[in-house]
């Protein structure tokens, strides 16, 4: 004889006490929503409806894939703008200790963060009682080899090729996210009270002679500060602009690459590379995407055919099954 005692019930039952909630249950509203009868589209994935989709996917993907593949294979022609990359391997820019070792406030020109960098920068936060600018492991390990490209002329003379330093970083990074400390003084004054990162040769305000590419807004620096996703990565180093439409930017011939070797990679079993590439409408050289598109398109097309067969073969049997139930 168990019952659920509830004081509220008692109140309802007892007239001497103030009447409780005596809301009478009314007939529920006859709306489509409450009766779960909202008009609805009721699609079902049957072989019949999916078949065309498979074929369509096949028909769209295969051409796209071929297009991508061809475009990316044609990139060999060094025409148009050429991009010069340096590549590092076995370099863990994505290690957590490394990734967080920066102070975005400082890089954005915040004067207080400049002189008092974030704790995340440890152990690259202070040196000899002076705050490091830019602080942190990422900045400290900035790539500092110098690459120079020469064309070997007819008479074995070296003709330097103009490498453009600017325009290699995200526009927003250079103009919004990275800023030098405010002020109209020369950069050196604005960075006063700070010291250079331990591994650097020169302080940050001497990265480049161009005022617009110096300090925190140095594009080499900005590019480096965008940590790579994987331990083998490449970063944009320079641009080689096309001179005119008639000639290839880098005509066929012998070239000479002069590397000022500063950056140690042997200690972590790393490798360095230099890559020259142009880009097309869909990026740089990209066999993966093209192959993937072709593969998926073909599989899809094949599945469409298989389904068609199955659909044809089993249609009768499924119809008889319908009848038995």
């Amino acid at each position: 004889m168990a019952m659920n005692y509830n004081a509220k019930d008692e109140v309802d039952g007892g007239p001497p006490c103030p009447p409780g909630g005596t809301a009478k249950t009314r007939r529920p509203d006859n709306t489509a929503f409450k009766q779960q009868r909202l008009p609805a589209w009721q699609p079902i994935l049957t072989a019949g409806t999916v078949l065309p989709t498979f074929f369509i996917i096949g028909l769209i993907f295969i051409p796209i894939g071929i297009g991508i593949f061809v475009t990316s294979n044609n990139i060999r022609e060094i025409e148009g703008n050429v991009f010069m990359y340096y590549g590092l391997s076995n370099f863990y820019q994505n290690h957590r200790r490394y990734v967080k070792s920066r102070d975005d406030g400082q890089l954005n020109g915040d004067p207080s963060a400049l002189l008092n960098p974030s704790k995340e920068c440890e152990p690259y936060r202070r040196n000899e009682d002076k705050p490091i600018a830019p602080c942190g492991a990422i900045a400290n390990s900035m790539f500092n080899d110098t690459l120079e490209l020469f064309q070997v002329g007819n008479a074995s003379d070296l003709m330097p090729i103009t490498l453009k330093k600017k325009g290699i970083a995200w526009w927003t990074d250079k103009n919004v996210k990275f800023r030098n400390p405010p002020g109209t003084d020369p950069l050196e004054e604005r960075f006063k009270g700070t010291t250079k990162p331990v591994n650097w040769v020169k302080p940050v305000y001497m990265l480049d002679s161009d005022e617009d590419n110096n300090g925190f807004i140095n594009e080499d620096f900005i590019v480096w500060m965008r940590t790579a996703a994987l331990p083998t990565f490449r970063k944009l180093y320079r641009l080689i602009e096309r001179k005119n439409d008639l000639h290839p930017t880098l005509p066929a011939g012998r070239y000479y690459l002069n590397i000022t070797y500063n950056y140690p990679v042997h200690s972590f079993d790393g490798r360095k590379r230099m890559i020259l590439s142009t880009i097309s409408w869909m990026g740089g050289k990209n066999p993966f995407l093209g192959i993937a598109y072709i593969t998926i398109g073909s599989i899809s097309f094949l599945l469409g055919v298989v389904l068609l067969v199955i659909n044809h073969k089993y249609r009768n049997s499924s119809n008889t099954a319908d009848i038995t139930i």
Partner: protein, 1180 residues
């Protein structure tokens, strides 16, 4: 027993009282004097003595001093006792302890505790994700739950306060005082007026009625709305005014509070002037319970004996045991699996990390030095914190939001039941009630339905059909419709001139029916006096707890005998000659379910004393010595087969000496303190013998509307229906035939007392099992050919006595043998009828099935108080809001107005809820595998450094906002098949039986799908980046940005593909696209894009890092990224689509076939479909 200061030694007092010279504080000569009367009391007392030290019901006693007056000096030692005050506390929290107590309660849930630990770990150690990512969702969950619980508790406080502060009239020093209810104390004398509820449990001292009675309804206690009569204590019923009552000098001894509403034993000692206490027994008829309401009585006085939380009502407050659904259980199993996966992932990564770091340049290359503190930390500590950090990194695999979503789905989803118009009953003006939303999906999993018969399958609307007097049958049809039309059957018997003695018997029969009952007449017309004509049409004024009685008395009216009322202990009736006959009511031997009969002893005007007895045939026939037994028996059996409820009536004439003997026996039994019920039953047994059979009655209880249809549908759905009833076998079997539970070709197997008298239980069971198993062996062969229609149906009938034999553990301890055998037989029977069941036995049956080896899901449905035990026992308890009060409805998980609504409840709502929640659970695990597995893979490429793949905002919001709403909406709205189809084709219910969508196979499929998708996302992005092609945007427009993408872009690409895949996967699963679905699914994708644009578009000043700045926009401005997103989403979705299509084509389930067929139909009539769509959209 709280503050009930009970004196030492009172435990064994009741037997000392009778047996020994007075000892102990309360027992003295005066007190024991009345007990020395000659009579059975003594012998009984001494007989029971050996038992009373050990196993007595009356464990403890309390002494109450009426009006706080000390007993006369020397009578008893006055020991003031402390009892709790009359405060009712149903609230859980107070203002002060709410926060700690509620937090404690919440964190006792394993899931919450887990998230708290994760949060604390994040706070303490240096972890890859900020504590916000897990703290915010946890905080949200805890706060919402706390607010909900706080609000509920506030409502309880309000209700408590209303209760505790409502005014009560006390008698103090002869004056009436108004006080708050909570100040009431044990021993206070209370005045209660008409229509007031009793503020606590009272002993009824006196009433404004001269006869010392009062009427009470206990509707809010046990749901019975009938008026019950209670009696004032004999010696105090004369005290009518406050002054009088104040002069009362008495003590009451009674048992300590017990929850049984219908049991009470105690005695009152009234001290007269002579200082010579009069002892009276007190029973439940003297006790007025808190919660009951005074009716038809101007006022009463009573003395409080149990107050506050010790009242019987409060003791009956029983929090329902938490029922957990099968889905929840499998969800918890899956959680454990995922917890194991989580721990092993973390372990693997920790180990690999240290393997990887064993080469020094990997551990600490020149470009990434550790701090001094890090270097000095011990290896073990480092490893441990690394392990914890990995745990934190992967903890999202068990999402907080799943619990919130499941709770919300259940809570909101249950509204669809209450909103259902088809389940609304016009007559009652009520729709279904949902008392718990935890079990919605369990409605789709039911395998056994246990149903009550009376009031559930049948209407419990009794109609008098016929009576059989002295072997002649008379039916009142003709009389009832027209004005005493001389119908053939009716006149037949009247005119048949049965002779003087026959006619006398016949009239006696009608008088017996008029007198032998406990009906009250509604007092509205009391002023009219007894002259009220029987033809005035006021027939519905009878009130009784038993609808049979009302039907009988009303039926008898048509034969010219009308019961008028009970006045001053005289029953008045109007006979055929319109004369009022008065019978003095001497005794009522009330009905109980063991005896299955009741008797009254009345004294006619002529001074003759009669005993009229009315009861079930089986309990009357053995006690009959005279009368046309055979004729009546055959008629009774015929009626029973037709499904009528039969009662037999007998009488005997008593000479005054006999009556005096009976009186003494009764009195002795009634004052007994121990085993009073047992003794009374013995006395009744003694009295109700040597009867003369008068006749039998038949009352029809009509089947509920569509009961047969519902049962048929349930059986087609693969649900086994058992009928559990207290009724007798023949009647119950007839009902079963009527509602198609048994069919013509059903072979009935009987395990009944009758059969067990001839054979031993062992033989019967073995024989039956042989029959059944032989059949099922042949069935399994046939099943392959699908000839299910031809199979031999078996129906089992078992009665309560046989069942208790089966359930009884055997002496050699091998109790389970018979049970197993019995279960085997039951499993092979399509229908089982259990008759003559006591309420507890109903629960036993449910329990037996529930814990049998398949662990089937059981559902119990009933309407009366006697069904409560089985409703509470079964996995799902359903109450029918019926005539026998609301107690079943209140204790149930769901309440429906009619039995027929069960069909929609199970086949439609249950099916939908099951589909919805199983998708919800599986999908949640799936999307979190998709979410976390790339994170796991990324560790292999970042030196196991716990670097997160996604930004903090994405980590936090993935489950909360990017992917939460579509699945919540799906789990509220999805209808894979139309409602009407589900109702039309009950067999579809079998498709989801046995938790089909949450079995290991399904779970593993979903998990593998998640793993596959995760691999696609991660390695798709990986190859894009490894080939380092995603390095520029379309330079066709501007050629000044040829960007290099970093790790955050990588994560964002993976995340974008993931959000789209996961959402589109749900879109593929959605079969029911309303505009809301479109809105939410496309809306949440849009929200993701807008959020990402915004999140990356602004330098947020409150963030210490700006790593997401322009990442998303740069990603979208790169052509290959678009191509990759399209490709990867397609690849991820392909296998699932393929699996769906192939399964549907090659191995379609019943549901899928129906879907396909409906699809074909709707294609054929597109215009009609369109029309219906537009018209219904208008109504929205």
């Amino acid at each position: 027993m709280g503050g009930a200061g009970v004196e030492v030694g009172s435990r064994d007092r009741p037997c000392k009282w009778v047996q020994l010279p007075p000892s102990g504080p309360h027992t003295d000569q005066h007190g024991s004097q009345p007990w020395e009367d000659p009579g059975p009391a003594h012998t009984d007392g001494s007989v029971s003595h050996p038992q009373c030290a050990g196993e007595e019901d009356w464990v403890d006693s309390r002494t109450v001093y009426v009006g706080h007056r000390e007993p006369p000096p020397g009578a008893e030692a006055y020991i003031p006792q402390r009892y709790p005050d009359n405060r009712i506390v149903s609230s859980k929290y107070t203002f002060w302890n709410f926060v700690p107590k509620n937090l404690f309660e919440q964190f006792r849930r394993v899931a919450n505790f887990y998230f708290l630990i994760i949060f604390l770990v994040q706070l303490i150690i240096d972890t890859p994700t900020s504590p916000v990512t897990s703290g915010l969702p946890l905080f949200f969950v805890i706060t919402v739950t706390a607010i909900k619980q706080g609000y509920e508790d506030w409502l309880r406080h309000k209700a408590d306060n209303a209760m505790n502060q409502c005014p009560v009239h006390f008698v103090q020093h002869g004056r009436l005082v108004r006080k708050q209810s909570r100040k009431l104390r044990v021993g206070d004398i209370v005045l209660v007026k008409e229509d007031e509820t009793f503020p606590c449990d009272l002993i009824f001292l006196s009433s404004s009625r001269a006869d010392g009675t009062c009427h009470v309804t206990t509707a809010s206690l046990d749901g019975e709305s009938s008026h019950k009569t209670h009696y004032a204590v004999q010696d105090t019923k004369g005290f009518h005014s406050e002054e009088d009552i104040d002069s009362l000098h008495a003590t009451i001894e009674c048992e300590q509070p017990q929850p049984d509403l219908y049991k009470f034993v105690g005695r009152i000692n009234v001290y007269n002037d002579q200082n010579d206490p009069v002892v009276r027994p007190l029973g439940s008829e003297n006790l007025l319970l808190r919660g009951a309401t005074l009716k038809n009585t101007e006022k009463i006085f009573g003395v409080a004996i149990y107050t506050g939380m010790e009242t019987k009502m409060a003791l009956n407050y029983q929090s329902k045991s938490q029922k957990r659904s099968a889905v929840e259980k499998s969800m918890n199993t899956f959680l454990i699996v995922y917890l194991c996966i989580l721990i092993s992932k973390a372990l693997v990564n920790t180990v690999l990390k240290y393997v990887w770091q064993s080469t020094p340049f990997q551990d600490e290359p020149w470009y990434s030095r550790k701090t001094e503190a890090e270097r000095q930390r011990s290896l073990f500590l480092r490893a441990f914190t690394d392990f914890l950090a990995f745990m934190v990194l992967f903890n999202y695999i068990i999402p907080v939001s799943m619990y919130v979503t499941v709770e919300m789905q259940k809570f909101l989803g249950s509204y669809f039941i209450t909103w259902d118009n088809e389940m609304f009953d016009e007559e009652l003006g009520e729709g279904p009630l949902v008392n718990t939303s935890d079990l919605n999906e369990e409605l789709g999993q039911v395998e056994y339905v246990f149903t009550d018969k009376t009031g559930t399958l049948t209407e419990n609307n009794m109609e008098f059909r016929e009576c059989c007097v002295e072997g002649r049958v008379c039916a009142p049809h003709a009389v009832c419709n027209g004005q005493a039309l001389p119908d053939a059957s009716a006149t037949d018997m009247i005119d048949a001139s049965p002779g003087a003695s026959g006619r006398e018997r016949e009239e006696l029969f009608f008088r017996a029916l008029c007198l032998c009952h406990t009906i009250q007449v509604k007092d509205d017309e009391e002023v009219d006096g007894p002259q009220k004509s029987p033809d005035s049409g006021k027939r519905s004024a009878y009130i009784s707890s038993s609808p049979d009685e009302v039907a009988l008395v009303e039926g008898i009216q048509r034969f010219g005998f009308t019961y008028l009322r009970l006045k001053d202990n005289y029953m008045e009736l109007l006979n055929r000659d319109n004369d009022v006959e008065r019978f003095e009511l001497l005794e009522i031997l009330s009905f109980d379910s063991v005896r299955r009969r009741m008797s009254v002893i009345v004294k006619s005007a002529a001074g003759e004393i009669y005993l009229f007895c009315k009861g079930a045939d089986s309990s009357i026939f053995p006690r009959v010595i005279e009368g046309k037994v055979d004729q009546i028996r055959s008629r009774v059996e015929r009626n029973a087969v037709e499904g009528l409820r039969t009662l037999c009536v007998a009488y005997k004439r008593l000479v005054p000496e006999e009556y005096e003997g009976i009186c003494k026996l009764l009195q002795a039994a009634r004052v007994a303190l121990q085993d009073r019920d047992k003794k009374l039953a013995e006395v009744y047994e003694q009295i109700e013998t040597d009867l003369v059979l008068l006749g039998a009655t038949a009352v029809e209880d009509r089947l509920q509307e569509k009961a047969a249809d519902t049962i048929e549908a349930l059986q087609k759905a693969g649900i086994k229906v058992w009928v559990l009833t207290g009724d007798k076998m023949e009647t119950a079997a007839a009902t079963c035939y009527a509602c198609k539970l048994f069919r013509r070709n059903t072979q009935l197997l009987e395990v009944t007392t009758k059969r067990l008298e001839e054979h031993s239980l062992h033989d019967v069971l073995f024989e039956l099992s042989k029959t059944v198993l032989r059949c099922s062996a042949s069935l399994t062969r046939d099943n392959f050919s699908g000839l299910s229609a031809d199979m031999q149906d078996y129906g089992l009938i078992i009665d309560g006595a046989a069942l208790s034999l089966i359930m009884k553990p055997r002496e050699d301890g091998s109790s389970s043998n018979y049970r197993e055998l019995f279960l085997d037989i039951c499993r092979n029977c399509s229908a089982v009828l259990c008759c003559r069941m006591a309420p507890l036995q109903k629960a036993q049956i449910v329990k037996l099935i529930k814990f049998s080896k398949e662990h089937p899901i059981t559902l119990a449905i009933g309407d009366g108080a006697n069904d409560v035990s089985m409703i509470l026992e079964a996995h799902v308890g359903i109450g029918v809001i019926g005539k026998e009060g609301r107690q079943a409805a209140r204790n149930s998980d769901y309440a429906i107005p009619k039995f027929k609504h069960l069909k929609k409840m199970l086949l439609v709502h249950g099916h939908f809820y099951y589909i919805r929640i199983s998708e919800l659970v599986q999908y949640f695990f799936y999307k979190n595998v998709c979410f976390i597995f790339p994170q796991f893979l990324y560790q292999f490429f970042c030196g196991f450094s716990q670097q997160t793949l996604y930004d903090t905002a994405y980590l936090t919001l993935y489950n909360i906002s990017f992917t939460s709403l579509p699945i919540l909406l799906y789990s509220l709205m999805e209808q894979h098949v139309a409602m009407d189809t589900l109702k039309r084709d009950p067999a579809l219910y079998r498709d989801i039986a046995k938790n089909a969508l949450l079995r290991w196979r399904a779970f593993i499929y979903w998990t593998l799908l998640g793993l596959f998708d995760a691999l696609v996302f991660f390695f798709g992005a990986y190859f894009m980046f490894e080939n380092t092609t995603v390095t520029s945007n379309g330079q066709i427009m501007t050629s000044n940005t040829h960007v290099v993408f970093g790790n955050w872009t990588f994560g964002t690409l993976v995340f974008t593909v993931m959000v789209f895949t996961v959402t589109l996967k749900l879109a593929l699963d959605t079969h029911y696209w309303t505009w809301i679905n479109h809105f939410v699914i496309w809306g949440s994708l849009l929200f993701y894009v807008v959020f990402s644009l915004l999140w990356g578009g602004v330098v947020w000043p409150f963030l210490s890092y700006q790593r997401m700045y322009y990442v998303f926009i740069q990603l979208l401005s790169s052509g290959p990224a678009w191509l990759a997103i399209v490709l990867l989403v397609t690849v991820s979705l392909l296998p699932d689509v393929l699996k769906k299509v192939l399964c549907r084509q090659l191995w379609p389930s019943a549901i899928e076939r129906v879907q396909t067929r409906n699809q074909c139909l709707s294609v054929e009539q597109p215009t009609v479909f369109m029309l219906s769509q537009t018209s219904s959209s208008l109504t929205f």
